[in-house]
Structures are given as C-alpha cells and as structure tokens.
Amino acid sequence: MAEVKNKEARIGVFLCHCGTNIAGTIDIEAVKEYAKTIPNVVVADNYAYMCSTPGQNKIADAIKEQNLTGVVVAACTPRLHEPTFRNATKAGGLNPFRFEMANIRDQNSWVHMHQPEEATSKAKDAVRIAVAKASLLEDLVPKSVPVEKTAMVVGGGVGGMQAALDLANAGIKTYLVEKNPTIGGRMSQLDKTFPTLDCSQCILTPKMVDVYRNENIELLTYTEVEAVEGYIGNFDVTLRKKARGVITPAEAEARGIVGGGCTGCGDCATVCPVIKPNPFELGMAPRKAIYIYHPQVSPLIYTVDFDACVKCGLCVESCGEKKAVDLDMKDELMTVKVGTVVLALGYDIFPIEKKFEWGYKNYDNVITSLEFERLICASGPTGGHLVRPSDGATPKRVAFVLCAGSRDNTGVGKPYCSRFCCMYSLKHAHQIIEKIPGVVPYIFYMDIRSFGKMYEEFYYRIQDEGAKFIRGRVANILEDPKTKNLHVNAEDTLLGRPVDMEVDLVVLAAAIQPAAETEKTRRLFGVSCSQDGWLLEAHPKLNPCGTTTAGVYLAGVCQGPKDIPDTVAQAEGAASAASIPIHRGEVELEPYFAQCMEDKCAGCGMCVPQCPYSALALVEKDGRTVMQVTEAKCKGCGTCGGFCPGGAIWMQHFATPQIIAQIDAFLLGGEQ
C-alpha cells in the first residue's frame, strides 16, 4: 500500500477527437507526437470517439500488446466517462484504478475555441501531468459494504407519499417523516388540479389512506430530522418527534390504557378556549390550540399547539377515559438506521408583499393564488364561495397576475419560471366562470407556458369559455380607498396601449421558493443546492433524481419547480433509484480511503477531531497507539492527510508522491 510498486511504468496515451469538439481546436496529431516523447509512454494513439466500442477496444488491446501498467485518456470529463474507461482498462487486464483522465475538452477546447495553438499547448501539459500520475498509480480494490434494508422519505407531500408507497410496495420498510401533523402537503390545499379538473383531495386522500395503512410504511408525522450520520447503506438518522400532546391508540395501549388514545372525535377542540389562525387555511379560518388541519387529515390524531395552549385542562376532561391528551408531553429523539434516503421537501410561496407595487398585504382584495385555492374550495373557509376579503361580496371582474415574482432579475423576486402558475391560473379562470355567472377573468401574462400533455388544449378551452388574455406584465396596482376596487395598470403589448383595468379582486400567481426547512435539512444530508436554493441533482439530464451524496435522492419541487405529474414521476424515479442499493444488498465504495502508515504514526490523535465524517479513531495495536480509519465512513476528502504533522496518512489514489509528480510534471516539464 504505502509504497510505489511500479518500478517500470509503461503508459499508454489515448487521445479522443470527440468529433470536432476537441479535434476542431486542438491539433491531435501534434499532441500525439508529443506524448510519445514523454517518459514512460510506450504507446500513443488517437480515435474519433474513444468512448465508442472500437475506441475502448484500442485501450484493451494496447494494454495486452504493450504490457501497459497505466492508461491515460485525454478526452472529456471523469464525471462523464471515467467509468467507461475504467471498464476498458479492466477489460485489458489491468486494475481499473490504473487509469487517469486528462480533460482536454470542457476545460480546454471548449473554452479556448478561438486559440488553437494555446489550446494544443495546454493539451500537451494536461497529458504530461496525467502521465506523471498514471506512472505512480496502484492497484486498488473497492470496498463493499452491506446496505440496510430500510429507506427513509423526508417530506409527506404527494412526492414523498408516492416515493414511500413505491419503496414500501417493493418490499422495503420505509420511514416517512413529515414535519406537519398530517401528510398531504401542498396538494391537499388545492381545490382542483389541471388540466383534468380532478378534485385534488379526492385523488389525494386514497393515497394518504394507502400510506397510513401500508404495513411497510412507518409514518412519522410532526417529526423532523435532527441529525444524520453515516453513508450510503448505513445512515443513522436522528429524528425529533415533536411533543404532540395527544397519543395514538397504539401509544395508549403501550401505556396500558385499554381502548384509549385519540379517535379524532374532536371533543377536545370543541371545549378548547384558545383560538388561533389555521395555517392550513393560510390564516383565513380559525383553529383551536388543540387542532387538526382539516377533516381528511392522516393520521386522524389531534395535536396540541403548546405555544398557544394555556393548559387549562378542559380538553383532558372532555377526552375522559380515552386519556388521549397528555399536556406534559416532551419532544422525543429517536434514531433509525436506513440504507437510502429520498428528500421530498417541497416548497413555500414567495413572500409576494416584497414586490410592493402589487400591494399584497396592503390592499384587502389582492390575494395569492394559494389563498384563492382555499377560497374556491368547498371545504375551505368560505365553503367554496369566492369572496372579496374587504366586504365579502362576490367579485365580477377578477384579474390574474402571472409571473408575480417569477422571471424577475431585480434581486427581489426569483429569476426562474415557477412553471405551474400559467396552468393553475387558467384553471382558476375556469373555476370562477363555472361558479359565478357573468364573471370575467382577465389574465395578465407575458407568455402562456402550457407545455404538458393536454395543457395547450386546456388553454384553448379556457379561452373558449370566455377568459380574457392581456399580454403585458402588471406594472402596478392601486386601490380605490372607497370601493376597495383595484386598478390594475399594465400595457396591453399586443395593442400597444396602456391599460387601467378596474377589478374587484386580484389574484397574484406568486413565485415559489424552497421550503423554509430545506436549507437545514439539505446540510444534514450533505446535499448541494443550486444558486436559487433548489437542491442540486447529480446531473440535470442523466441523473435528475440522484444527488452528489451517494444514497440520497430527490423527489418533487425541492429539486426545482414542477407540477403534480412531474413530481409524482420524479418520486417514482427517486424511489426506484433508492431501492437499487437496497435490493443489491451491498454497495461498492470508491477506494479513495485514507490509510494510516502505522510505522510513521505517532498516535498523537490530532487527526481524529479533524475528520468531518468521524471516520478516524485511535486504537492499540502491537502495544502502540495508532490511528485507524473506518474505510466505509471515509470519503477521501484528504483533510487528515493534509493535516498529519508526521506525514503518516496515505490518501489512496491521491497520494502525496502522485500529486507531487503531477506538480513537478507541470512546473518542470514542457517540450524538451
């Protein structure tokens, strides 16, 4: 391990044209001729597409014919084709880790497209540096670790529920963790869904029931992720079960209360004297300090809001012999071991009052689209009657403001398209036409993005039903202080005329943003996010459900705005991806572990607290104290290796002699 075994390195260099991607800029022949002059290089070859079967065969054949000890491919990125060329190296009979890649495309020909000479010179440098490392590469063996046969889904919206159901139905025990007292997420707040106009709750509640009844799903509502340790196959997740103040029938039985626990009868809420706004109804309806969000919650268990509860004990009395209310309950921590994790963290509405020109929270009759959903919903605060908040009157002219805070580069709003606002605003127009005779919806839009299956047809239908479309972004909204009517100012850009549209109600299709807890949760799981805060997928096209953390997958809007069909589709993809390591039973870890060179290790232990993954420990060995690495926990970050005062830590595949050789090759090399 800790010595360089290659006494006589024999390196093969293979240059890829990548069509004209590389060869269009870099003089491949010149680089090839140069490569032949580099020490240790015994063969240099080129091909139009090294990743193709003939290209790979060239590598395998050369290894056998030339008895190579190392392979260098100068092509695209390791991220794209390292696995391909490792397989080719293996096919030639070499250890696959005796392969090194030189990136002469993304970091060279693409960025230096107009400087072919300099690009060619840089490619020579890159090849020389890669050869230096390849000459010192060693055989490495990936480590296999067993995978815990359980999964966790964080977030109980439609995406999380679908992922949990898929995993559970594939025979995997799944923990579904939801921070709210009920599952259902945003979808349960919606009235109808586009373009089919299905009742959202009607199609969602069967899934909620499935989740609740599924034997493989352990539903943990009112629970948050507190800490995460471990790695793919072996995550130890600490959960905080927030004090709910109410026990389930199962918990009652465990406490020896026969026939006790919450049945969801609601007697407690009837007597509770404390009234608070219900966040599920966006504050437009009251709830008590002991509450459920809505009648279809799952699980049907009441929750005590301890911030509001005055501990009068009336609920305890009314519950009687069921003894379901426990006002002394405290948060509990529990740790579960899972093999893989799906994050389905969802979204929040952008605080649209920040765009003050539209007057949200300033004018009574400017509401958000989510508030509209509750107001138009039969189970909502008004029983499905859309009313003006100012006077309760039925609006006859309603303006829908699209791109409210989306596609906004001012730094106040969000630069991205929130992707489903066009479609739900069309649906809203339909809903008011259906419910209010004589109503006219005015839709202020920049572009109508009706891209999904049957979406454009839906747009056609709503236009036919009488919705008026005005192509122009709303400049500002002013309120008539007497009537509380609103003047919507915009330009009808197709007419080229400014519009002052007096309406009874304005609905802002507010942008969406990552849910408040996303940042904290993603950090616990070591998942990156893109500039806009949405979680970063492993590859935007080819690995949209994976993350850069092995064993953690993404589902739904937390990865970027998407509608229900896309969320469900991604959830199924994430569940499938998360089930693969579990079904295989073991995963291979890249063997980039730190290794302790015990003869050099002084046992000082200074490296142990440096490790971000708690992979290091001091052990007694042959009467001496030395450091030991738990390979499965080590991510090969190199923190300890860089830190060790005695130089006693060997970073496999990124060992000091290998890196020094690369630096030497860069600084001392060049055409000789």
Binding site: E357, N409, G411, R473, V474, G496
Partner: protein, 193 residues
C-alpha cells in the same frame, strides 16, 4: 430593401408604402451604442410592457418606451432616432424602478437622445431650453407670476439660485461652452429658420 412603386399621387404613395422590416433596415451597432452610452443591458428586454404600464407619459401620448427598447434590440436606428416620441420621456424612472429584467429603460432613452442629438435631430423646445439655461441658469426661469406667489408665501422673490447670484452664471456657461451645447443649439435653431 423596401420595394418602391411609382404612384403619381404622393398621398397614395405614402399610404401604400412598403412597411416590411428588411435586414438592411437593421444596424447591429445601434444596440451596442445604446448600451455603451446608457450603461444598461438593453438587449435583455423581454417586452413585458411593465415600462409602458408604469409610464406617466404613455396614457397621454403615443410614446411607448417598450417599442423604443424593441427598436434598439432590432437595430432599427433610423426609426428610433427620427421618432419625435423619443423626446416625450419625463425621466421619472418609474420604468427603471419596476423593470423585472433590472434594466434602465430611461437610460436607454437618454442614450438614444444623445445619438439623435449627434445627428442634429432634436426638438426646437429642447434647444430653446438650452438657450434659457445659458441665459439665466434655468430651463424654466422665474417669472412675475411665480415671484408674486413666492412673495405671498413669505419667500424672497428670487430663489437661492443663479437668479439671486448671477455671478455664478459664467461657470454654467463655461460648462455649456465646453460641450458646445449652446453653439450647436444656436446653429440648429438658425438652420431651421
């Protein structure tokens, strides 16, 4: 290029003029000039109309700032610079405040005015304003009605400006002379007589 037909009647010829947009109508340098002078990425305009919707001038005139942005993007220099509407912006900056692309349409308009002035395209009243500033230090000098109003309010008849301190006028004139503004204003006004 636009197709010309030989109508004898000039009115008819104007009415039936070829209005198509042809490639040679576009000067690709125009947008670069506008961006350089205006210091705003005018080519990023996505034509949402927030500017015109915010514009206090638009409801009372044919001035459409969005169309000027469009003409800048397309390089329709001739059309933009010869349009008298170019001079109807009040520079209130409402459009700049609200532009979702974070552009400054006002500054793009200012840039186009600069380019137009370089070609002597400028309304006479703007040039008369230059002359007034040269003469009095004010685009709108004090007058008797204003003096009476100020007196009524208990203020001095002349404000704390060049009206009260005419000794500062030479400084203002030097600036205008440095940019040859007065000279050009006089010349263009004289040529237009």
């Amino acid at each position: 290029m636009a197709v010309k037909k030989d109508y004898k009647d000039q009115k008819l010829a104007e009415k039936l003029r070829d209005r198509k947009y042809y490639v040679p109508d576009s000067n690709p340098e125009f947008i670069k000039d506008v961006e350089k002078i205006g210091q705003t990425a005018a080519h990023m305009c996505y034509q949402c109309g927030t500017c015109t919707g915010s514009c206090p001038s638009a409801p009372r005139s044919s001035y459409r700032i969005r169309l000027f942005m469009r003409k800048a993007v397309l390089g329709l220099e001739e059309e933009a610079l010869t349009d008298p509407d170019l001079w109807l912006c009040t520079t209130c900056y409402s459009c700049t405040d609200r532009c979702p692309r974070n552009l400054a349409p006002t500054d793009a308009i200012m840039a186009m005015r600069n380019l137009a002035f370089k070609r002597d395209i400028i309304p006479r009243n703007f040039l008369q304003t230059v002359q007034l500033i040269y003469k009095s230090g004010h685009g709108v000098p004090n007058n008797d009605a204003n003096r009476a109003a100020r007196k009524k309010l208990g203020l001095e008849e002349e404000p704390e400006t060049t009206h009260k301190y005419p000794e500062y006028l030479p400084g203002i004139r030097r600036i205008l002379d440095h940019y040859r503004l007065k000279e050009n204003a006089d010349r263009i006004l004289a040529e237009g007589e």
